[in-house]
Symmetry: C3
Subunit: 395 residues, 3 copies
């Protein structure tokens, strides 16, 4: 991965030529209509600890699903009885491995959605074995997260779509799930956005932002494809403080903050941080000793289910220490406060408004171009690896 000199963002140049800059968007046609997400991917659906003996209704990509656990395994069906349209998630599991509709007792095999019994028509019911089954969805459970393949045909291996560290037994992590009141695209664009952090998070107490002076700005961002990820590769013209016409000096650091930052900077800690995107809706940040993985799973046009995982390469006593640190600090300061600032702000965004992008939006433009070019349009063919685009540059 080679750092590339900054260049003016194409969009900003166009602003000088055109009459109607507000009418343009850098969203490609496929991404523009993907209000409910891209199909043919594995998505996290719910946490293992949230699926017990009772069916759980989960809405994803605009579809209503019902999750059940049988013989220790999770399964997912379309949440509508084929008989009369009743919600299966209101039903119950009379025997392990089946789910029974609460209206007339139609009972489905949770593994494939086949109708195995219609209780109110007797054991010899002729409808069993005829007619269409309820749609079933491929499901896998790994390390406390239940994933569901939202697509047609045979799914690829889970590893194709999920960051390696959350699948590996060598890592430990903690997850929080919450509903965000915004379209999933606003959620991932915000995560990949190079520019909002110094402003939105300016008063966060998060350790790594409070203990060091953070840049107030940084201009053009170029991203490069690195395997499955689009990674921010370079960021030009960073600055820490400045005088702005009309606004004055900014950021306006308090003495306390400067003192804390000086203290933090005396500890020689490698300032490594990456910001990566992975299809379908995953943001990964890697830090010195842990990484943060966040999914913005589409629910409906105005809601996404956000999974935030803090992941570290630990086991044994170090894993326990990591978890303790998570519950004492990161959960509240990072997942709830810091990322709650994002939830709060993008809930006030009019995502369909005309846009006028600026230099740091090269990160957004790159992300949108990458998604437009790489999102799956049909079923992946199991066994045939996707081509390696590593080294492609965005925007």
């Amino acid at each position: 991965m080679v750092a590339v000199p900054s260049r003016e963002i194409e969009r900003t140049e166009r602003l000088e030529r055109d009459e109607e800059p507000r009418l343009r968007s850098t969203r490609g046609p496929r991404y523009d209509v993907a209000e409910l997400g891209f199909r043919h991917y594995w998505y996290p659906a719910l946490l293992s600890r949230h699926l017990g003996k009772k069916p759980q209704a989960i809405k994803m990509l605009g579809e209503n699903l019902v999750f059940v656990r049988a013989h220790g395994q999770p399964y997912a069906l379309f949440d509508r009885c084929a008989h009369r349209g009743m919600l299966l998630s209101e039903g119950s599991c009379l025997s392990e491995g089946t789910i029974t509709c609460p209206y007339h007792g139609w009972s489905y095999d949770v593994t494939d959605g086949a109708l195995v019994a219609a209780l109110t028509d007797g054991p010899q019911s002729a409808v069993v074995g005829k007619g269409k089954a309820v749609r079933s969805y491929p499901v896998e459970e790994r390390n406390g997260i239940i994933y569901c393949y939202m697509g047609d045909g045979n799914p690829p291996p889970l590893e194709e779509d999920v960051p390696e560290e959350v699948l590996s037994p060598d890592y430990t992590f903690e997850v929080v799930v919450s509903l965000w009141n915004s379209n999933w695209r606003a959620g991932i664009e915000n995560g990949y956005d190079a520019a909002h952090a110094p402003y939105v998070h300016r008063n966060s107490l998060r350790w790594r932002t409070a203990m060091r002076m953070q840049p107030g700005w940084g201009g053009f961002v170029e991203s490069m494809v690195e395997g499955k990820y689009l990674r921010q590769a370079s960021r030009s013209d960073r600055g820490y403080e400045g005088d702005f016409p009309g606004v004055g000096h900014w950021p306006r650091h308090t003495r306390l903050r400067k003192a804390v930052a000086r203290l933090g900077e005396r500890r020689p800690r490698p300032q490594v941080q990456t910001n990566e995107f992975r299809l379908p809706c995953t943001i990964r940040n890697r830090y010195w000793y842990y990484s943060h993985v966040r999914w913005a799973v589409p629910v409906d046009a105005n809601t996404s289910r956000t999974f935030q995982a803090l992941v570290g390469p630990y086991d044994g006593a170090r894993a326990k220490a990591f978890k303790l640190q998570y519950w004492l600090w990161h959960r509240w300061v990072f997942h709830m406060w810091f990322n709650g600032q994002d939830d709060s702000i993008i809930g006030k965004l009019d995502y369909s408004a005309p846009e006028q992008l600026f230099r740091p939006d090269s990160s957004i433009v790159g992300l949108r171009k990458y998604i437009e070019a790489h999102a799956r349009t049909s079923d992946p063919v199991p066994g045939v690896p996707e081509p390696d685009y590593s080294g492609e540059r965005y925007p």
Copy 2:
């Protein structure tokens, strides 16, 4: 009325031949669009005890009506002042027999909706006697229920559309009115549905279901026309307990329940029960010593006003005993609990979902075919009796 041997339901047979069974419906075209009910029928509107001196707003079949009482009689008008569109139900009855709009004092004769005065234009107002009246609706009050004819032209006698026992002075009954959160068709189909009871009501304490073993299933249901009613005539292949593939033994009666049922069955009570439908939206069940009449009156697309009446052929002391029994037991166990289970379950039904019917749905199919063939399309002609279709078989 002759019992007829069971036969495979036509719909189930078709399931084997067709590619897309989920796209078909057994609703005929007239019934399919009757989201707001069928016009040209008498419907119960409200209870006598709910109509005092103040105007009452009642929405039926998608129309806003206002009911008022004058000289002891109930009347109904369209709930919109002809002047500027104000709700008349927000007005008041300045003199008995009129209703006055709260905005400018336009006053209507409640018997025919004619404008009799426009208070704010003086006693000589020229608008009186000109222009269109507010629409008035034929209304009748019998035995504590106020009925309204929701149609054009002259209405037929009330007896044409209302079960005889609730109109007769020789019967006593108690009624409860409640709003159900579902389309009226889901309400009456559920009432006529032969199959849901063993599953939905499996844990009801209702006397006649708890004190006897109830069949877990029963197959094909044929209905016959019996005067004004479509009556379930036969039900084949009943069964009480069985082993179902995938699900196991069902129903799973507790020992207590079996003991109670054995106790109940030692009392030789005739096991007479009928399940009948009558247009426009009436379900009648007749038992040994009383009957149950239920209307699902359309309010809007997602709401029906349910009238449940328990009716017995009693007077004097026996009527009092019947009412006491109702208030001590049936109201809570039957009307609230048992039928509340229906309200709760059909509120979760997607009535417009594609369907896949099974053998016991022959009751639903028969009901739909009967309604499609017999629902009034124009005004009944008073004095000309409707033809007698008795003996027709459904499905």
Copy 3:
């Protein structure tokens, strides 16, 4: 201004000829579509005391605006950041005279909406000075009210659109602002309506209605143009009590009320009262010693922001006495109770219902015709006075 003999309202005459009187409306085509008000006028937006250092979001004529105060002056911008569509009203004023978007720190000059800084792109950001500014709105502040010009091009002087007394330093007044749950047209038509008062306000304790016998009716109302105002010029056939067919005697004054009225009438106070309308949405009533100005500012199709001002030609001690009287009496009895009756009643009006007008609606018909003929369709030309239509008669 000459009083003109009453004549039958054209609309009422038509009622006798036509088959379908309910299908007609006296709303002209421009007024009929003006659901969100007429553009190219000055409207009151908010009170001075409600605009401090924090940005205030105000919706008017269907548009979202943000008001800010800088160096003592109020300013208004379109409430959407040109960058990504964020609500500017959620931002803050880092320096006086600018407003900064809460997402990426785009900062606008509040005087013209020009982008002066993009904090997260550094002081040299190339986007500053390029691209479109956020729309700014002409704003003026007078005597405690902040007005906004909702139109294109150069606005006329504020005096063109606002009653002279609320702009004059020689008057004192008190204002209350409230949201009414009805379209603005229902609000101004109600204010100009000659007929509703004796019925809707029949039990108001407002001084001037309680202390004198009010007419129960008055027939045809003719209005004349008087400078900027349409003024009710004559009202024929007033009456105080009468016997109405079907309804009986009305109004039914209590003895107490009659006694109070007799008492009030012994004080020889000139019974001067005018009812005037002024574009865009202003009702003015002038009384013996004060006047009442009310705006129904369109917010959305079903809401208007009502400004009610009680205005008197006082200063010094008399102004204080006037304010004291306002806070002890008028605010509660007139602005809250009396006009609250209007808010409550027109919130139940179906403004799009078919209408059937009567003689006193000549006031409404006149108002509608005047508005249709006189509402601005394009920018007024500053310096070129609008023609004087004084003396035109409506309807």
